[in-house]
């Protein structure tokens, strides 16, 4: 069973990792937009 759980956990870790990277990119863009507005 440990291999089964490892595979399912790895799947969701990869997806969550990618979604986190999207959130980080989105926040960076928001910061850049705000900085551009201040100029």
């Amino acid at each position: 069973m440990k291999y089964l759980y490892a595979a399912y956990a790895a799947t969701w870790l990869i997806h969550i990792g990618y979604l986190s990277s999207l959130v980080a990119r989105y926040r960076r863009l928001q910061r850049e937009i705000e900085e551009a507005r201040k100029k």
Partner: protein
Amino acid sequence: MKRAFPIFALITAGLLSFALYQALVVAPTEQTMGDVQRIFYYHVPSAWTAFILFFTNLVASIVYLVRRNLKADAVAVVSAEVGLVFLTVNLVTGPIWARPVWGIWWTWDWRLTSTLGVWVIYVSYLMLRRFSASTQTPVLASVMGIFGAACVPFVYFSIWYFRTQHPSPVIGRGGELDPRMAHVLLINWLAFSCFAFLVCWSRYRLERVRREVEETQALEALLETRSVR
């Protein structure tokens, strides 16, 4: 559209939970491999979803090359990136399944090696997108996307025409999958397809905003240069 996204996200979350329940509880236990065979319900739909996204990348790349359509270029980069995530899941879950069943994590047979080859092609595609500043980058990336998609049928058919460690097709030619297992497999594929669509939707919006910001920054830099002169 703003209201559609959270509704679709809720439906997808429900579908993924239902699919997980089906895979872990409802699907019958395979006689030879036991419970570890349930990795199949994540391993196979991830590969199918990745291949659909690479096909989307192929179509978008061709549209960009023919019409120089920037929306098609954005769709191409989004589908390649999300497709690569799903192929990574396939490549990670495969060895975790192989270890208890074959006794080894990896073998350099046709199916595994060609899958890894396609993965490397799309990593290169995204690195080209990320690090090249040339105006010809979308054209080069489109050609690379077409090449990558052309390699996908080789991955799929490798288990038909070569002797490999990998099992034969479970659906279609030579497939003898239990109908209850096939049912759970299709539910999981539907759930992962909806999830992929949702992620692509978010990533596409991000890509459009990123391009607008880059265009604005380039315009500002140009105006600053002119004012200095």
